[in-house]
Amino acid sequence: MATYLEFIQQNEERDGVRFSWNVWPSSRLEATRMVVPLACLFTPLKERPDLPPVQYEPVLCSRPTCKAVLNPLCQVDYRAKLWACNFCFQRNQFPPAYGGISEVNQPAELMPQFSTIEYMIQRGAQSPLIFLYVVDTCLEEDDLQALKESLQMSLSLLPPDALVGLITFGRMVQVHELSCEGISKSYVFRGTKDLTAKQIQDMLGLTKPAMPMQQARPAQPQEHPFVSSRFLQPVHKIDMNLTDLLGELQRDPWPVTQGKRPLRSTGVALSIAVGLLEGTFPNTGARIMLFTGGPPTQGPGMVVGDELKIPIRSWHDIEKDNARFMKKATKHYEMLANRTAANGHCIDIYACALDQTGLLEMKCCANLTGGYMVMGDSFNTSLFKQTFQRIFTKDFNGDFRMAFGATLDVKTSRELKIAGAIGPCVSLNVKGPCVSENELGVGGTSQWKICGLDLTSTLGIYFEVVNQHNAPIPQGGRGAIQFVTHYQHSSTQRRIRVTTIARNWADAQTQLRHIEAAFDQEAAAVLMARLGVFRAESEEGPDVLRWLDRQLIRLCQKFGQYNKEDPASFRLSDSFSLYPQFMFHLRRSPFLQVFNNSPDESSYYRHHFARQDLTQSLIMIQPILYSYSFHGPPEPVLLDSSSILADKILLMDTFFQIVIYLGETIAQWRKAGYQDMPEYENFKHLLQAPLDDAQEILQARFPMPRYINTEHGGSQARFLLSKVNPSQTHNNLYAWGQC
């Protein structure tokens, strides 16, 4: 048998699942003693080039409370044409279409390699994707220009039949009508007034079947059944119009006096966007893309007043309860986020400004709906431009790497219950027999809604072993979990992806070694980190750290080998060896430490942490450091100050930043221009190597990281220095005698 490492990797590649434990402790009591909960990171749309969707619908268990999907783990009686549900043990008749089934003629879903399978549903009207741009016009001229260009560019990337809409805002909010010739029309709203969805729809004239104005034009045949709104039109029809419209977009014309912030009605703009989609396209995949260049300064959802002399809230203000707009604004955006989620739409936030833009308050919009959150310094940076462009990249099938309106339904075998999920989702409040009373993350349900997701969106799903100690599971027993994800594919089809996994049970008292060996410390670190970050949203920072510490200590107690009173004797097995390191860096990470981060930055980091897959999450927890030297190929080195050497080039990837750091000597050489001398071509290559590697990362990552190229003594070197383990500092530098 392959090693657990291979097993884990294989499972991840096939099913997009990483469990903290790959052999499960068989009783509730033991499970709790394991410290790290039984949980998994699940990537519902894990990219599977080798997995063609099947063109039929899944076969469901007939028990109404179960409805599990037929899967390779089910017992099948080919003669009787019966199958037994492996979750509830209900015996089900195969549907007539499966009449020809036999041992040699199996449908795909029964083959073991199809533990993950995707069904395409032909039923139901297909509705086009909807992209609603909500654009801040209180930007600097060049920022706005850059944004306009990005938006215009994006039109060519959208699927041609996608519906697109435009809302701009500044002091006022304008909803642009896109279908008009000769004159561009927009509906304007005051930026200070909170309107109900009903009012918004009334004012936009959406409550009537159609505007009388349009109704009367007989010439316009109803080309598309969905075009009931003048504000959302198919890209192919209006891309010229919209390009012009965007081209003519002006900065918010209202004067901003010295010492004031521009009045920015982000709250109302979002509310109108939500109301518009709510009224016209409920339960259809739609993206509201908010582009903002500063904090909301008026109306509902305002984060800061327009007086520049009063700065936007900092962590300090929040601790002192001095952030006077925060609660109200958060409430406003939460209300919007929940409404959006209920309608199956998602909200992206692209915030580009040097100061904070209120992501703290608005984060729920993206977090609850599965939207993206992108933070940058300016729209006129490659960071934003490329990130934005990357949203519209396509997979090998030519499909967008995004999906909408997903519901994730989790089913477990009887020994397990679902404690909750952490990720870009909202609860659908579906109670069932497999829902635990103890909540971890968003719990109390077996179904979640993920309004927007991409191929790497990952949820942490936490389970609870409920099997009692005195009811042992028979040897060789396996627990199973089924993930059923309904979603709208970017090609507008409805699809269902079903992943069914099973793991062995083991008695922790007798088979602890098995369990230990099957520990996935990476997954465990990320899952624990998610729990920690989730707690940090609502609890005081130090409490969370203390909790993390305690968990680590308990884990070490349980699985470490040591002699009392002898610290040097402490050993952890291989499968646990990295875990403490992860915890160490997690403690220092911006996800738990708010020092030196603005509330917006914290929200931003946490947002990404809660949705990225395991690899990326690990990078976030513990940045990767590569060292380049003449002495051989680049090698990963310890994230430690001792790795900073004069003759090395370092490449650090923290997920959010890529830092290239030239050691002192290298920097001097470069300054001296050796790289330009033919005889030192190898130096040139050395300089080039990390750049190329960085490019590679930059190409692949979403959002595009901040790219920092610095050298010893450079001011930007702080990005590196703040991450490494300060084993050498100005305090102990000489004592260690390593200079």
């Binding site: 006022m172 927009s186 509906y187 309107l195 004012m203 104005m213 003519e248 014309p253 004067p255």
Partner: protein
């Protein structure tokens, strides 16, 4: 003169005192009698009369209650005069009953009137008015001068007493007076009179004062020489006279006209006389081309020189003393230092040597450039803006209004008002369309196509854009043209019938506020704003309220929202001109509140059809857009010690008791100011008025326009009566009454007017006229037209509506009159009736008008009638066929289309002359008068007859003669 007694044994008439001279009885029997009216059976006739089915009696019947107040036929409930001696009309010669007299001839020609008793009147040719008026000229002119003239039909002085009105109660005491107070006039019981009796007691209409005669006389006497304003207290020529004004220290009568140019020294006298002291001020009046507009004086940074105490501006009446180092304020007598830069030596008469170099020391009217202290927020204003706000609801589209308007605007925008000499207008323009939501347009020059911004949040109006809403026409021409092309297209298929109103104005005002400028909104509106929004109205037109105590509610706005809005508009300097195109009731009373309070105008085109009303609307629109306007204005009238401005009438807003605030003020708007005594006046120093208007010119320049006027003061009532101006008096009284209907029942308002008029005349009779028989009616020369004009006011649509007059019409007229000047009220209340074929065809002058009475119409002639709003061409039934042919290009009378509104363009002298005359009449008026051709005996004639104001009106208004009799009775009651 003694008319009556002899003649009228008739019992009834007695009440009136003046018996008709028998000889005069010849007048057509038909005249006053309502019988004539009764002959219109048509739909237009008052419902009442129809109901009765009894023509001829409707008047009395329906008005039984109201009549009492409206004294049509004077009836006697009052003391009956034993003798029918006719009163002597002062100034009127009445050569015995039979002799037709020249103008105001006073009593029997032989008797010269005792000086002082009678009115100076512009009589025949002789002494030109001004000479008469020289102060100190005591001897009265006797009307008998006029006797030299031909046998003009004039007001025969002592009017033959009452008989005429058939309404006389037959039996001496038909009804006991209902009340005992002297005002009570028992309702006449017309129908009780045997017909023949009616005719017996007639006053010869020719024998009573004729407005036409007075106007003609004044034209002849005073139209030739310029009116020089140097002398204090001169009565200017009548408004109907063409004259030139030379400013020599007092404001031209084009700017200010007073009810009296010689005012009593004490309030007691004033109270006794009851003559209202009022000035009708038109601060930005347009002058004829041969008179110079006021000089602009620039005093640099120090600004205009003012009295330290009362803040009056430097004017020719300021007295320089101490060698020119100080000046004494002519208004408050405060002594002020002359600032060094203004110092100038005095000559031997105590006048500054530079007096004639400085407009403010030598002229009655001039302008100062205002300094920044006179500006809002201490910032010089930006140029004003015009915003066109167009109703695009179903009605507006259907009638073709929107298309017409947009087409017109394209060219009209080139003619925005500009400062004289300026290359192009500084005024910026903006566009809004609306139904129950508002559409703003961005027409910034840099745009390829206009942008439309819809604001649906009408409950909480705001302006969605700043930049690009108000633009310079030339810079944004392409975009504007494209917009105006598209507006009719965009809404061509609209089904939206509901409109809003208040939010529209609010939007315009907010736009001006955002642009930090003053300006004007042109609102084109079609229907009652019933959409859910602030200022939503409901149809409350209820004809049953007419003649009840609640009638006043019809004139009051429905909600307070409009006043509140108007107040905000005024604060922003936002003036609203409202063009209404209603198909039904739109509640003009409410909608016009904002235009009214912001100094704007209201135009109403009922049942607008492009084919019929295009000309009128476009012409009004052009004029309205092009006229010079002052914005964000404040007017203050200062007076010398002793009198004080106490009341103001017109289209404006007042937040305190002294400052008249006008968001906009154009050359047509007039403010009538009433004065009261608060101290004794001095005969020597007279009384001074200074009207200062601070405004922003159409180029955005802040200016002060100053008008000064000095009046005489008198201790003798006769001086007062000799220097009055009836036209101005009527202007004041009409405005007073029209405002009164807001608060009192119409009947009470009418009674007040009658009482006041009676008191004025009675006071004259008592104090100034020579003793004569009580049966004589004696009128002051200057006021001899007061009764006829007052009667016109009393029977106007507002005070006595006919059945066909809508509530909207009344409200419309009410607010129009509020800002009319004297010339306008004059012709409005007493229309001009011009015979077209009497004068030789070659004559280029306007024909002499005839009196507005059916009796004066000859059925062989054609007449034009105009009152400033309406224009009729009346064609007599037996007019020559040649005339018909040359005017209408049809062969006979019967082929003329009744109701025609355009005369065919024909190349013959008559057609040219008539069309030329129509054009010139239109040119004289501030609003385009739509022509209606009316054929004699046609059903449309009804409409026309409404304007024959000397006749008894269908709605119960008294005929001139009746009213005069009634007035006489009232006076006698007061005197006895």
């Amino acid at each position: 003169m003694q008319i009556s007694s002899a003649v009228a044994p008739a019992p009834p008439s007695s009440g009136l005192g003046y018996g008709p001279p028998t000889s005069l009885a010849s007048a057509s029997g038909s005249f006053p009698n309502s019988g004539l009216y009764g002959s219109y059976p048509q739909g237009q006739a008052s419902p009442v009369s129809q109901a009765q089915g009894h023509p001829g009696i409707q008047t009395p019947q329906r008005s039984a209650p109201s009549q009492a107040s409206s004294f049509t036929p004077p009836v006697s409930g009052g003391p009956r005069l034993p003798s029918m001696t006719g009163p002597l009309l002062p100034g009127q010669g009445f050569g015995g009953p039979s002799v037709s007299q020249p103008n105001h001839v006073s009593s029997p020609p032989p008797q010269a009137l005792p000086p002082g008793t009678q009115m100076t009147g512009p009589l025949g040719p002789p002494p030109p008015m001004h000479s008469l008026q020289q102060p100190g000229y005591q001897p009265q002119q006797n009307g008998s001068f006029g006797s030299a003239r031909g046998p003009q039909p004039n007001y025969g002085s002592p009017y033959p007493a009452a008989p005429t009105f058939g309404s006389q109660p037959g039996p001496p005491q038909p009804l006991p007076p209902k009340r005992l107070d002297p005002d009570a006039i028992p309702s006449p019981q017309l129908n009780e009179l045997p017909p023949q009796q009616k005719t017996r007691h007639r006053i010869d209409p020719d024998a009573i004062p004729s407005p036409i005669q007075v106007i003609e006389d004044d034209r002849n006497n005073r139209g030739t020489e310029p009116f020089v304003t140097g002398v204090r207290g001169q009565v200017p020529p009548l408004v109907t006279t063409n004259f030139l004004v030379k400013d020599q220290g007092n404001a031209s009568p084009r700017y200010i006209r007073c009810t009296s140019y010689n005012i009593p020294c004490t309030s007691d006298m004033a109270k006794q006389a009851q003559v209202p002291l009022a000035a009708v001020i038109k601060p930005l009046a347009t002058l004829p081309p041969d008179e110079a507009s006021p000089y602009v004086v620039d005093h640099g940074e120090s600004g205009p020189l003012r009295c330290n105490r009362c803040k009056a501006y430097m004017c020719p009446f300021m007295q320089f003393i101490e060698g020119g180092r100080r000046f004494q304020c002519c208004f408050c007598s405060c002594i002020n230092d002359v600032p060094p830069q203004y110092f100038q030596h005095l000559d031997h008469t105590g006048k500054r040597v530079d007096a004639y170099d400085r407009p403010e020391l030598s002229l009655g009217s001039y302008e100062f450039l205002a300094t920044v202290d006179y500006c809002k927020n201490n910032k010089f204003p930006s140029p004003p803006a015009f915003i066109f706000m167009i109703d695009v609801s179903y009605n507006a589209i259907r009638t073709g209004l929107v298309r017409l308007l947009c087409e017109e605007l394209k060219s009209l925008l080139d003619f925005l008002p500009r400062e004289c000499g300026a290359e192009e207008s500084a005024i910026r323009v903006g566009f809004v369309t609306y139904n129950k939501v508002l559409h703003f347009y961005n027409v910034k020059s840099s745009l390829a196509q206009p942008q439309m911004m819809v604001v649906s949040d009408v409950a909480d109006m705001f302006v969605p854009l700043l930049d690009g809403f108000l633009v310079n026409v030339n810079e944004s021409r392409a975009v504007i043209t494209s917009l105006l092309d598209q507006i009719p297209e965009m809404f061509a298929d609209t089904r939206e019938t509901e409109t809003v109103f208040v939010p529209v104005i609010q939007a315009g005002m907010e736009a001006l506020k955002a642009a930090e400028c003053a300006g004007k909104l042109f609102l084109f509106h079609t229907s009652l704003p019933i959409a859910e929004a602030p200022g939503k109205l409901k149809n409350r037109d209820d004809r049953k309220l007419i003649n009840t105590d609640k009638e006043k509610t019809l004139f009051q706005p429905q909600t307070g929202a409009y006043q509140t809005l108007a107040k905000e508009c005024v604060a922003q300097g936002c003036c609203i001109d409202l063009f209404l195109f209603p198909n039904q009731y739109v509640d003009v009373a409410t909608l016009s509140v904002v235009p009214q309070l912001t100094g704007g105008s209201v135009y109403k085109y009922a049942c607008f059809q492009v084919e019929n009303d295009q000309e009128r609307f476009l012409s009004d629109l052009r004029r309205d857009v092009q006229k010079v306007v002052g914005f964000d204005a404040v007017m203050r009238v200062r007076t010398s010690t002793g009198i004080r401005a106490v009341d103001f009438f017109g289209a404006f807003y007042m937040s305190n008791t002294t400052d008249v605030e006008l968001a906009g003020l154009d050359g047509d708007k007039t403010v009538t100011v009433e004065f009261k005594h608060d101290d004794r006046l001095n005969e020597e120093s007279g009384a001074l008025l200074q009207c200062a208007l601070l405004y922003t010119s159409c180029a955005g320049q802040r200016r002060l326009r100053i008008h000064n006027l000095a009046l005489n003061c008198c201790t003798q009532l006769a001086d007062l009566y000799r220097n009055c101006e009836t036209d101005t008096l009527i202007n004041y009284m009409a405005k007073f009454a029209y405002r009164g209907v807001l608060n009192s029942p119409v009947k009470a308002v009418r009674d007040t007017l009658i009482t006041q008029c009676a008191q004025i005349l009675a006071c004259y009779r008592k104090n100034c006229a020579s003793p004569s028989s009580a049966g004589q009616l004696i009128l002051p020369e200057c006021m001899k037209l007061l009764p006829v004009y007052l009667n016109c006011v009393l029977k106007s649509d507002v005070l006595q509506p006919g059945a066909e007059v809508t509530t909207d019409d009344r409200a419309y007229v009410r607010q129009l009159v509020t800002s009319m000047d004297v010339a306008e009220t004059n012709v409005f209340f007493y229309p001009r009736l011009l015979p077209l074929t009497k004068s030789p065809i070659e004559s280029t002058t306007e024909p002499t008008a005839v009196r507005a009475s059916e009796e004066r119409l000859s059925n062989g002639d054609i007449y034009l009638l105009e009152n400033g709003l309406n224009l009729f061409l009346w064609v007599g039934a037996s007019v020559q066929q040649g005339v018909v042919q040359s005017l209408f290009s049809v062969s006979s009378f019967s082929q003329i289309t009744s109701g025609l509104s355009v005369l065919p363009v024909l190349d013959n002298p008559l057609s040219k002359k008539v069309r030329g005359l129509i054009d010139s009449l239109r040119a004289q008026r501030s609003r385009y008068m739509k022509l209606i051709v009316v054929k004699q005996e046609d059903k449309l004639e009804m409409l026309f007859k409404h304007f024959l104001v000397e006749d008894k009106s269908l709605s119960g208004g008294a005929s001139y003669v009746d009213f005069l009799c009634h007035m006489h009775k009232e006076i006698r009651q007061l005197l006895s």
